[in-house]
């Protein structure tokens, strides 16, 4: 019985972990290409969820329209954001970019409920909600969908960065902007492209997380889980985002299963951060991250 309980926790941890990595991928793509840190990733997801909820609940259009609207909305939003806010901050200290995205997060959390209303809306994926029983595992279809989407993005991004011409150019931009410029790469266009990719990931993440949690301002709280994921996996690694997500998902589920009875709840939100602090002390650049060498 005991090992079945453990397996159940691990199984759910894997699924929820993949859903975390779905959000973390957006963060990693932006950081990898532009060195910008997006503290508003959770709010991106919230915005996408609000878009899809607006389409599905308020206009009562079918699911695929909602997905398309969310993707288009998020892509144009992140294009505009890069243009208006982040481009003027190029070359400024890292604190400035962090604060700008924190400010952006505040704007989105303020405007979201003002425009879309404060109540929680539920959206549903066309996958049913009958849990799938597989041996000791009990799996939610929403989570399976999220995990599959995350894996699809993992495959897509891996191919994009390793094989496609644009992906190689983007890696060049990430490595050294000046040299990339000298090689005839339009750096600013690739910055915009990276933000657009983050927008697409966030759009799908928003639909999936919105379907799981219900759409309101609290969806943005999943953004707080992005940091343990990316620190563990490595800030600039696509694979790292997925592995980090799996670790965080499994650890928080095990903590919830075994520690909660001892400390009286809440260890789910606590354990990933302790793990992250340890990771920062031991290996700050993460499992798959690239170590940065600093010179005067």
């Amino acid at each position: 019985m005991e090992w079945e309980f453990t397996l159940l926790l691990i199984g759910n941890g894997v699924l929820i972990g993949l859903m975390y990595s779905l959000i973390a991928l957006g963060f990693v793509v932006v950081y990898k290409a532009t060195d910008a840190i997006n503290f508003a990733q959770g709010e991106f997801v919230m915005l996408a969820a609000l878009f899809s909820a607006a389409v599905m609940v308020l206009m009562e259009l079918p699911f695929w329209v909602a997905v398309i609207v969310a993707v288009l909305g998020m892509v144009s939003f992140s294009f505009g954001l890069e243009r208006v806010v982040l481009r003027p901050l190029l070359g400024r200290p890292v604190v400035a970019v962090i604060m700008a995205t924190i400010g952006l997060a505040a704007i989105l959390r303020g405007l979201g409920p003002m425009i879309f209303g404060a109540e929680t809306r539920s959206i549903s994926l066309p996958v049913g909600d009958e849990p799938l029983r597989l041996g000791p595992f009990i799996l939610q279809p929403v989570q399976i969908t999220g995990a599959l989407v995350a894996l699809a993005f993992l495959g897509g991004f891996t191919w994009f960065f390793l094989r496609s011409r644009m992906g190689v150019a983007m890696r060049a931009v990430a490595d050294n902007q000046q040299v990339a410029m000298a090689m005839g790469i339009n750096v600013e266009r690739y910055f915009a492209l990276a933000w657009a990719m983050a927008g697409i990931v966030s759009a799908l993440g928003g639909v999936v997380w919105g379907a799981m949690l219900g759409v309101d301002v609290h969806v943005s709280l999943v953004g707080l889980k992005v940091f343990p994921v990316v620190i563990l996996g490595g800030l600039d690694s696509i694979v790292g985002a997925v592995v980090g997500g799996l670790i965080v998902g499994i650890v928080e589920n095990l903590a919830a299963g075994y520690l909660d009875p001892l400390v009286g709840g809440g260890s789910k939100d606590f354990a990933p951060y302790v793990l992250m602090i340890i990771a920062l002390m031991v290996r700050p650049y993460g499992i798959f991250g690239k170590r940065k060498i600093e010179r005067v």
């Binding site: 604060m99 924190i102 400010g103 959390r109 303020g110 003002m114 940091f227 302790v274 700050p284």
Partner: protein, 362 residues
């Protein structure tokens, strides 16, 4: 501050580092201080006791925010180490003082430094990773510290005092006389705000402050010219957290209750907004920022309650006002970052340099 500087050139380092750049500056500061001392009776005379109580309570909030903003500015503005966990240090100070005041019945002149020192100790521990990590990593580590402190306080009844994690505290008593009204509390808070300002001015113009600035501008170069980076980074964290702890204690005495809900991440972000809007790396900027950010929500509420009722019902307004506050807040942070990175302090300096030779053009 308000005087015009003209025909005065600094020729020695001692002059450059002096607390008062000009003899007249002593007069300006003295007059300003005198104005602050007579503010409560003046307000009472103009508006009546009840309204004065309200206005002075707002000034009190500003005085508390000034202490916290100056402390955070020492860390972020002067040393260049970001912290998104400052509200966590404030809650450490608040709960330390509240526990000492309630369980051991200690007076404020023990609980206040104790709260500050406890926060400084915790802050120094949180600062340890800053030796290896910086920028984004440090931001995330301090964010984690904020969440972990919050969680620990919330889950340890010995600290948080049981139900709803709040401890009621009596108002501070000076020589056995409890400060009951806001106007009496004002002098108590003013004293600490002035101490904080003078302390910070003296830190940043001394050896320590110069080491902080060197670390901010280029840490590897600073190490090569003989600054012990580890020690000074931890000092910055400790001093800054001490200020934060004192802010938490003052806020607890102001409210009469220690509650972790007053020290969530949003509070950390409020304080970061203060120093960015006010101006990074400047004591005066931190004061401007504290005034601005404290007044902003009050003004928004006033504005919306006056004009918003034309368009919205009261229930809608209750939803809109906090959301609007958050939105305007974020917008201001971005606008200042993009358009005026040196904040209100820079605008103030521009005004001053315009009037320096006024009405002549050169």
């Amino acid at each position: 501050m308000f005087h015009r500087e003209s025909g005065y050139y600094k020729t020695t380092y001692a002059e450059d580092g002096a607390l008062y750049p000009l003899p007249i500056a002593k007069w300006t500061v003295g007059i300003l201080l005198a104005l602050f001392v007579v503010l409560p009776p003046l307000t009472t005379a103009v508006t009546g006791a009840l309204a004065a109580e309200y206005y002075i309570s707002i000034v009190n909030l500003i005085l508390i925010a000034v202490v916290g903003a100056i402390g955070l500015n020492i860390l972020v503005g002067y040393t260049g180490q970001i912290s998104i966990g400052h509200a966590g240090f404030m809650s450490v100070g608040a709960y330390t003082a509240a526990n000492l005041a309630v369980k051991l019945d200690l007076p404020f002149w023990i609980t206040l430094p104790a709260g500050g020192l406890m926060a400084a100790a915790i802050g120094a521990v949180v600062g340890i990773p800053s030796l290896r990590i910086k920028g984004l990593y440090l931001a995330i580590a301090t964010l984690a510290a904020q969440l972990i402190i919050e969680w620990i306080i919330n889950h340890t009844p010995a600290i948080s005092g049981g139900s709803q994690a709040s401890i009621e505290v009596d108002r501070p008593a000076v020589f056995g006389y409890p400060l009951k009204t806001q106007r009496e509390l004002y002098y108590f808070l003013l004293l600490f705000a002035v101490l904080a300002i003078v302390g910070a001015l003296n830190i940043v113009r001394s050896r320590i402050g110069r080491a902080f600035v060197a670390i901010r501008d280029q840490d590897i170069a600073a190490e090569i010219i003989g600054i012990n980076i580890f020690r000074y980074k931890l000092t910055a964290f400790a001093i800054s957290s001490f200020y934060a702890g004192v802010t938490g204690v003052l806020y607890t005495y102001y409210l009469g209750i220690a509650n972790y809900e007053n020290f969530l991440i949003s509070t950390s972000i409020d304080y970061l907004a203060m120093i960015i809007i006010g101006g990074l790396g400047s004591v005066l900027g931190a004061i401007f920022g504290a005034i601005f950010v404290t007044l902003l929500p009050i003004l928004i509420r006033l504005f919306m309650e006056t004009f918003g009722t034309l368009f919205f019902t009261t229930a809608e307004l209750n939803n809109i006002i906090p959301a609007m506050r958050l939105g305007i807040f974020g917008l201001l942070i971005i606008v200042f970052l993009v358009l005026e990175p040196e904040g209100l302090n820079r605008l103030w300096r521009n005004i001053r340099s315009y009037f320096r030779v006024w009405p002549f053009s050169y």
